[in-house]
């Protein structure tokens, strides 16, 4: 089972990891795992479990291009992020790191703290016995996720997704 962590609209990357907690500013870069939502939601890093879901309103990840924001979420093994719209740099960064992002609005369907069953490869969530089918990401994004991120994808294929071989 996965816990739902509910967030509002326009969650920016300063809320996910403030610039003062960048690896550039840390003595121990591995400490980044302690800082997702360090100010916006101080209990998050200690309580989040591998596979948990982030469910948010539109424009998730707006603001800075800092990849350490999704990296911090990857370090605590967030299962997927579900929002009706992602800011584009965050979406690319999450894709590159292999974090599944689904474009759907579940903010009025699920609630914070809810335990749900997830089958992310099929894009399925089961909540209170009800099955929710998430819209599948475009095919080339699924290929990148399947490879574990853009670096393994590029090394495997020797090209970018969609580039002639």
């Amino acid at each position: 089972m996965a816990r739902v962590w509910m967030f509002g609209a326009h969650v920016n990357t300063d809320q996910i990891v403030p610039g003062r907690y960048a690896p550039y500013m840390l003595k121990d870069e591995a400490a980044l795992r302690n800082y997702p939502f360090v100010e916006a939601r101080p209990e998050f890093a200690a309580m989040v479990q591998p596979g948990d879901l982030l469910v948010a309103g539109p424009n998730f990840g707006c603001g800075s291009s800092r990849e350490y924001a999704p990296l911090a979420l990857k370090m605590v093994e967030v299962g997927a992020i579900i929002a009706p719209l992602f800011a584009r740099i965050f979406y690319r960064n999450a894709l590159n790191l292999g974090i599944p992002c689904f474009e759907a609005d579940l903010t009025s369907v699920l609630h914070d703290g809810q335990q749900v069953e997830t089958h992310l490869n099929e894009g399925v969530i089961v909540a209170n016995g009800q099955t929710i089918q998430l819209p599948p990401p475009p095919a080339f994004l699924r290929e990148v996720w399947a490879a574990g991120g853009i670096v393994p994808y590029y090394k495997q294929h020797g090209r970018f997704p969609g580039q002639a071989g």
Binding site: E39, N59, V151
Partner: protein, 418 residues
């Protein structure tokens, strides 16, 4: 088939005609990386991708601007490593502490040019649209891949056209237009899209950069100010290059949306905490007392912005209990402000001057805010905790409003000074 500026630029870089909505792999004209993300970029480039050299050292620019000069021993060590790496890679376009923020510096140096595809490790890389380039921000991994291959993949964006009409009144400037657009279309109004700024031929380069950098604050993938007008002509002449003949506004290009703004009735705009798109007319704000006025950043720290503030502050003193911090966007801006007396006016009024760079915009040094403090900021983000304490309040406004506010002690209209 008529194309938007973004479609024209990406078509050239992809080597085939493209339309909004398709994916393209493009050749990159210039990759920008800055100090803050460089340790992780270098690690991915060498350790994960196994590349020994960047694809072309002439097409890479490295700028130390995010913590400049270094605030901690860690920063200093990262910066020392970066200098060594730049030498090893044979990168000539390296700009060290004090030269300024990457976006203005690459424009001033004539490296960013019309029609280029420029990717940068900073979200405000939309700023290269100041000179008609397609500039876009990316994260560590995309920049490392760009450095290794000279390429990236892009979804060709749709375009939001901002059409300005008329002329701004005194005391109103490009920042007010940028915030007005954020108010009209929202913080995600141009997500995945390019923003094209039309009807602004009379703007200076610094004012163009205000709009190009603010384009990311409405979600823009790029923000291109139509590269026509006297300021662009003078800049091209100074650097000895010409507008590519293939880059021009095509009347029948398709836009996802056109936002019409009448500049002649535009009032100073203020973005109130904690989102950029929560914008009000200054006249509707009510009295907001401030502790700090901060004039700087890639958005509003240019010479003309300091000069606009100085014109209003000449012979006056900032209000008791208020501190004013001025961080020029670049050494060129600082030098010009020194030469024409702008800096002397600001210092005589009581302002503190910082080293050109990003300064407190990312909340790391040079003027971070305490809990409970209120700041009038000429930058581009007022997110909670952006400039220091999450208990601080950040209001965004123009350089003219910054000057009036510093003198009044509360967020004030420039007209109140007359």
């Amino acid at each position: 088939m008529a194309q938007t500026l973004a479609e024209q630029i990406i078509s050239r870089a992809a080597g085939r005609p493209v339309r909004a909505g398709e994916n393209a792999v493009v050749a990159i004209d210039l990759v920008m990386m800055h100090d803050s993300i460089s340790p992780s970029i270098i690690k991915v480039l060498h350790s994960e991708l196994g590349a020994e050299r960047v694809f072309d050292p002439e097409r890479v620019a490295v700028v130390i601007d995010h913590v400049a000069p270094a605030a901690t021993i860690q920063n200093a060590e990262h910066q020392a490593n970066l200098r060594r790496w730049v030498r090893q890679q044979g990168i000539r376009h390296f700009f060290d502490v004090g030269r300024g923020i990457s976006h203005p510096v690459l424009v001033e140096e004539g490296l960013a040019r019309p029609g280029m595809v420029i990717v940068g490790s900073d979200s405000h890389s939309t700023g290269y649209g100041t000179v008609g380039a397609f500039g876009t921000g990316m994260g560590t991994t995309d920049i490392a891949l760009a450095l290794a291959t000279g390429r990236t993949w892009l979804r060709v964006p749709e375009t939001v056209r901002v059409q300005a009409h008329g002329h701004m009144r005194p005391g109103v400037s490009a920042k007010d237009l940028g915030l007005k657009v954020a108010r009209e279309i929202g913080a995600d109004g141009a997500t995945y899209q390019s923003v094209e700024w039309h009807g602004l031929d009379e703007l200076s380069l610094g004012e163009r950069m205000t709009l190009a950098t603010l384009s990311i604050e409405v979600g823009g993938k790029a923000g291109i100010v139509v590269p026509t007008g006297a300021a662009i002509e003078a800049h091209m002449a100074q650097h000895g290059y010409q507008m590519p003949e293939w880059l021009r506004v095509e009347a029948r290009a398709t836009y996802s949306r056109v936002v019409e703004i009448d500049l002649s009735v535009l009032e100073p705009q203020i973005s109130v905490p904690h989102q950029v798109d929560t914008v009000v007319d200054l006249s509707a704000l009510g009295r907001v007392e401030v502790d700090v006025v901060y004039l700087g950043t890639c958005t509003n720290g240019h010479h003309e912005h300091m000069a606009a503030a100085a014109r209003l502050m000449k012979g006056r003193k900032i209000a008791p209990g208020v501190r004013m911090i001025v961080v020029p966007t670049s050494s060129e801006a600082l030098l010009r402000a020194t030469e024409d007396g702008t800096l002397a006016t600001l210092i005589a009024a009581g302002a503190a001057i910082g080293t050109p760079g990003c300064g407190a915009c990312i909340g790391r040094h040079m003027g971070v805010l305490a809990p409970g403090e209120t700041c009038l900021f000429t930058g581009n983000r007022n997110f909670r905790g952006r400039m220091g304490s999450p208990e601080a309040q950040i209001y965004l406004g123009s350089p003219e409003v910054a000057a009036a506010t510093a003198l009044a002690g509360y967020i004030a209209h420039p007209a109140e000074l007359v």
